[in-house]
Every structure is written in structure tokens, then in C-alpha cells.
Symmetry: C2
Subunit: 418 residues, 2 copies
């Protein structure tokens, strides 16, 4: 089958299921989620067998250890996929909420009702648990889902998909509710991304090159984040102890994720006191430091940070440090080099805190806390489908609510316009 025919066939199935899926009771969707959680445990031998095929191929292709680790499933990872589905079942359903209802002088009642977005395409790489997370979140929010996983997890993704889709089939859900592109042909991506008459939203999850490809080709609205170059600015009015704790946590607790700090900005008036203590802590955790000249005047052993460093998401135990003359300089640095993801100030000064909050144009702006909190669960939203650094529709962690939109509903008693 050509890439185009495969894409259009799935799109038609998906669009056909949209309206029917909305009509199914929320309780039946929750029941399906719980049965899926059971099914994934019952099918673990099958899923592990398929996963082994992917691992073997990855090893034969000499893929990196880190990548193979992200790819590999075991009984405990399958258990957390199952528990993830149970958690989603327990959340409130977002669709159907009526809000901003107001009565107009002519008696018309005008308001909004929360509705699913419609058909969502998710293009993702590596970790196979993304498959079950996305299936759970889209079913809960009544969105039809089209999945296109990475070729490195080809067999694992299909095994998880078939297991969960089996539950929906047995329960009589419309057959287009859940779809997966089961070919390694990359042309299908281009075809799918041109089908804006069928697909309402595309969420790419993966490396920068995948996301750039999607942006380049898509006629469908895309919500994404490229990367997280997160900053912590230690103000001259910071509590030293708090700054040490926060900056250590933001860099060291889990360096390989998008909300970890990549650049530390320090006010010159506190730098001499703060940086040596901070560097001691980082040294014990094996963090490599790269700094501007002012930093290197204080921390002699530190390598020089190049212009490229300031733009870099290390995802590793590496940190760039710049000493700044003022809050304004810190904000200007973030505006130039940042990725609009998560940035924090540590300060006890009210005015500095408020200025930072107001002027830093990132999805999540923190006062006196670690950027590592940027996460749907940490924010109290339950599960998340990703993080957005877009300006429109959703910014920051995206949970169930962000998988919905609204329409206006208007109740009249025969009103006409005069």
C-alpha cells in the first residue's frame, strides 16, 4: 500500500469514530481503562517477547546503552504502565464542563462547554510506555488517537497497542477509536501531516530533529517543545542556603530530563560567597562546570563556557554558569538563550521576584523553587501527555484538560437580531 493510501485509510477510520466516541458514557471509558490495566499485566510475556526483538535489533545496530535502556521493558516497567492506566481512570473526566455561562440583556444564555479536540496524532520516539500513556489519556478525554511510534520500538509498540486495542474491540468501541501506523515507511509521516481535514492536532515527542521535521511538514496545528534550556537566577537578595539547595536539586536530582537546570545565573554581589560553596557541592556529584570569565575569576578550575554552551541542553551532569551585573542582565540572558520552558529566581526581595515573574516569557516561571517541578503530576494535574513551549492553546505541562477545547452553546427562547 502506498504511504498516502495507508494514511488516508486510517484518517477516515479515525474521523468516523470521533462523533461515536463522544457519545459513549464516561463510565464505560473508565471501565475500559481498568480492563486495559489488567490486560497489560496478563499479556506481559507476549509484550516482553516482542520487546526482546527490538532490544536484539538495537544491540545488533550498536545503538547507545542509554537508548537501549530507555527501550527495554521488564515486569516492573510493565506494572507501572498498568498502574498509569488505573490512575488515569481515577481522574475526573474533563469533557462536558460548562463554564463562563452568562445571560445577555436580551435573555440569551451564552456559555462554553468543554469538548474533546477530536483526532490527535502522536509521533514519538523510543520509550514504549508512551504508547500506553497516550492511549489512556486520549481515551479518557474522548479523543480519537493515531499513534506513530519510532522504528526502534516497532515490535514493543505494536504489542502494547494490540493488547489495549483488544479491550476496546471486546467492549464494542468504534473500530477507529485507536489507531497505529504499523509500517516503518517514513513517507507515511509526511502524508499524515498533510491531512488537516482529518486530524485536529499533532503532538510530536522526541528529539529535536523529529520535531523540526514535523514542524516543517505539518499542515496540522502542532504542540511541542524542542528542548528545555532551564535557568536558575540567584539574586543578590537570595537566601544562600535556599539557593544552594535549589540549584543542587535542579541540576543533580535527574539531569537527563527537560526540566533540569542547564545554566546558572548569579548576581555579582553574591557570586564570591555563593559560587565556591555551590561548586563544592557540585564537585561531590561529579558535575562538570563551564563558566564565563567572571565565574572563572572566582572558580579557577572551571572551563570556559562558549557561546554555544549557553544554547545547549546538556541533559547531563554539565552546567554553564554566568555572573551577571543585574536582574535585567539575567532576564536578557534568559530571553536570548532560553527555550521558554522553565526558569527560576531565588530571592527574598519582593520587587525582584515580581519583575522576574512578569518579564520572563517562559511556560513556567518560579520563585524560590526547583525547576524540576515542571510536570503534570507535580502541578496536581494527574498524568501528562507532554510539555508545551508553544504560545497557543496550552503552555507547560499538558494534562487531560489541555486535550480538550470548547465550543459556545447558546440557549434562547426565539431571540432574533435587530
Amino acid at each position: 500500500m502506498s504511504a498516502y493510501s495507508e494514511a488516508i485509510e486510517i484518517c477516515k477510520l479515525a474521523k468516523g469514530a470521533r462523533e461515536k466516541l463522544c457519545g459513549i458514557a464516561a463510565s464505560k471509558k473508565d471501565e475500559a481503562l481498568l480492563l486495559m490495566a489488567d490486560a497489560i499485566l496478563k499479556s506481559q510475556d507476549y509484550i516482553l517477547k516482542e520487546n526482546k526483538k527490538d532490544i536484539d535489533e538495537a544491540k545488533s545496530k550498536r545503538l547507545s546503552k542509554a537508548l537501549i535502556d530507555r527501550l527495554a521493558l521488564d515486569r516492573s516497567r510493565i506494572l507501572s504502565m498498568s498502574e498509569g492506566l488505573r490512575k488515569i481512570a481515577a481522574l475526573d473526566s474533563p469533557a462536558g464542563e460548562i463554564f463562563e455561562m452568562r445571560q445577555r440583556p436580551n435573555g440569551l444564555r451564552v456559555g462554553k462547554i468543554r469538548v474533546p479536540i477530536g483526532v490527535i496524532l502522536i509521533i514519538y520516539e523510543s520509550r514504549p510506555n508512551v504508547t500506553s500513556d497516550c492511549i489512556g489519556l486520549c481515551l479518557k478525554s474522548s479523543n480519537v488517537l493515531i499513534l506513530r511510534g519510532g522504528s526502534e520500538a516497532f515490535n514493543s509498540n505494536i504489542a502494547i497497542f494490540k493488547t489495549l486495542k483488544g479491550v476496546l474491540e471486546k467492549m464494542g468501541f468504534p473500530c477507529g477509536t485507536l489507531n497505529m501506523i504499523m509500517t516503518k515507511n517514513r513517507e507515511v509521516i509526511g502524508s499524515l501531516l498533510s491531512m488537516n481535514d482529518y486530524i485536529d492536532l499533532c503532538i510530536p515527542r522526541g528529539g529535536e530533529s523529529l520535531i523540526k521535521e514535523v514542524i516543517e511538514k505539518s499542515k496540522i496545528p502542532v504542540i511541542k517543545h524542542y528542548k528545555g534550556v532551564c535557568h536558575t537566577y540567584v539574586d543578590k537578595h537570595a537566601s544562600l542556603d535556599m539557593a544552594l539547595k535549589i540549584c543542587y536539586n535542579a541540576k543533580v536530582q535527574r539531569p537527563g530530563v527537560c526540566n533540569a537546570m542547564e545554566t546558572l545565573l548569579v548576581h555579582k554581589e553574591i557570586a564570591r560567597k555563593f559560587l565556591p560553596q555551590m561548586a563544592d557541592l557540585y564537585k561531590k556529584a561529579d558535575v562538570e562546570l563551564r563558566g564565563c570569565n567572571k565565574t572563572r575569576a572566582i572558580l579557577k578550575a572551571v572551563k570556559v563556557a562558549t557561546e554555544e554552551d549557553w544554547y545547549t541542553e546538556y541533559l547531563d551532569l554539565i552546567l554553564s554558569i554566568r555572573v551577571v551585573d543585574s536582574l535585567e542582565e539575567a532576564i536578557a540572558h534568559i530571553s536570548k538563550y532560553g527555550s521558554s520552558h522553565s526558569d527560576a529566581i531565588v530571592t527574598n526581595d519582593y520587587e525582584s521576584a515580581m519583575e522576574f515573574l512578569s518579564k520572563v516569557d517562559s511556560a513556567c516561571v518560579y520563585v524560590n523553587a526547583s525547576t524540576r517541578f515542571t510536570d503534570g503530576e507535580q502541578f496536581g494535574m494527574g498524568a501528562e501527555i507532554g510539555i508545551s513551549t508553544e504560545k497557543l492553546h496550552a503552555r507547560g505541562p499538558m494534562g487531560l484538560k489541555e486535550l480538550t477545547t470548547y465550543k459556545y452553546i447558546i440557549f434562547g427562547e426565539g431571540q432574533i437580531r435587530v
Copy 2:
């Protein structure tokens, strides 16, 4: 200057003004709006003189009378532009609202703050008053604006722009706050639409071909509506009097606008009683009717509606009519031929009303009212910058709030992630 250089120069100016504009007090923006309202009255001779150049050129090019009418300004149209600016000044400023603030178990306070979108590009055709409306709405919502008007209103748009920009200059606003592409070179549009690093949102306003061109070329998120093929469905449980009033209003009161009805759907059980009375009313208003075969069995003189008719936005005193067997058939017709703009049901049956509201996937869904109400002012939002049939960010009328987005703000006392 090349199209690219012109576009990038304006984009850099615009982006540079973004942060500064946010820092200016709302009261100063309101003051500017009121001074603009004065300035436009004071400059009316200049604006009318420039407008006459456009009218003369339009006449020499033998453009349609309707187009020339939309293009033409007079003292009363200039007065309403001025009053529009005053009205915008009187509305509440949307930016700065803090909402959904919650405290997490670890004490973190997580919430959202409403912020301007950033830099907005508006590409529009014909009516010169769009220039002042957009300037007013973007200034009020603290968005930097780049305008690209149609060549037919070239001189009028520049005159209005210069008049209003003069006020901002005198008041010391950052010079990139308000920008207009002052060339007829169409290549500039393509260049602008590729500048997603500078421009956050594009709103095209005009005919379908303009909008298709923008969608085709844009790397920037676009909010738009192509057209309004609006339906009214008269249910078998409708009050006959109400249905006559609503269907007359939706078609006749102002046929040339996007929220006017283009297709009337009538349940077969009420058609014999309703259609002849309705047709009498339409006849008096010179409405041309085109119908399905079942309609023509009742209204003998009616022309046949072709497949193309059902897709057509007439914007004129023409109406297509279909008799349907059921509510489901009406909903299926709207789903196939509609434009997701505004659709209404007339019924006294609770279940039918609720089913229609739930299954029709349009920006505005009405029970027992005319679709002509789809309008920011009618909905109680003050002025509007356009209507969206997109699924994301904003659906239906877009007012000041829809020109904003949010960011997360997080207040801590040293919290770190464990």
C-alpha cells in the same frame, strides 16, 4: 529592499518592542486609545483624501460596486472607527489576571497568569476600518502588531495607520509597537509567514483564497475561518411561530455576513406546514430558494439544489433547503457540509436540543435563536478581532481575552523535588 529584508527588519523591531510594551501601565494604553480616537477625527480630511485615491483606482479598475462600497469611507464611518477605539479603552484589560492558583501538598503555590500572546500578524483585505479595530484591540491586550492590508485599500490603510501611530510616537511608546508593511509586493507575505521565531500568531481576514494562501505558506500558528455555511434545523417539535421568526432573521437581516444562514434543514413531519409559510415570508424579501426533491414536492416553484449548493456560502439572498427524516440526518448533513461556524436547532423537545448541542461540532451551537448572534459584541465580549473555526486556542468570536495566553507562575519557599 528585498521582500525578505523588509520582513525581517519589521520582525526585529516588533520582537524588540514586545517586552517593553508589557511593562507599560494599562492606564497609559487606555490614554493612548482615547487620544487615537481624537486623532482619527482630527485627521479625517487627510484620511478621506487618501481614501479617495483608493476609490478612484478601484473605479478605474472597474472593481465591483459592493467592493467599492466596503472600501469607501465617509465622516460617519470615520466617526464609528473613533467610537470603536473609545469602546475598547473602556473595556477591562485582559492581561495580568491570575487564575487556577492552587497549593500543592509540599506548599508550592502553582497558578496561571494571563499574558499577551506577543507579536501578532494580521493579513487582511478591503475594509479600512479593520486597521483601526486591530490597532485598538492589540494595544489594549499589550500585543505587538504587524499589519498587512490589501492593495485595494493601500492609501486608506496607511493614512489610518500613520494617524494612530503618531499618537504612540508622541507618547513615547516603543517604536516597534505598531507596524505596517507598506508595499504592494506580495512576496513579503511569504517571507513574513516563515518568521515563526519572531511572530507568535497570524490572523488572516478576507476571502477564502487569501486564507488558503496563508495556511499553505505559514510556519506561524494561524487562527482563521474560511467561511460560514451556517444551518438552522427546524425540528418536528419546533414552535412554528418561533421557527418562522428565527429562520427569517437568520437569512434576511444581513445576508452578506458569515453568521447568516445558508441552509435550512426541516424535519419531514413539520415540513408541509412550515415550508409554505416560510416561503411566503422569503418571497416578500426576495430570497431565492433552492431545494432538495422533497422540498420541491412541497414548494413547486423552487429550483433544485445541487450538491455544490450545500457547500456554498452565498452571502446573498439565496437559501438552500433540505427536508430530513430525522435529527440524526440533520446532524449528519451539518457534519458533512458545514463549516464549523454557527448552527442552530429550533425545538421544544429537551432531548433533541441536548443531542444537537452535544453532536454538532461547530464553534457556536444554538437552541432556539438566530445564528446572527455569533459576534463578540453580541456575546458580551466587547469588540472582536475575528471569528475562529479552528479547534485550538480560540473558537468562535475572538475578543481581548482570546488575544492572550497564560504562563504558569510558581511561588515556593525553597521546595526541591525528591
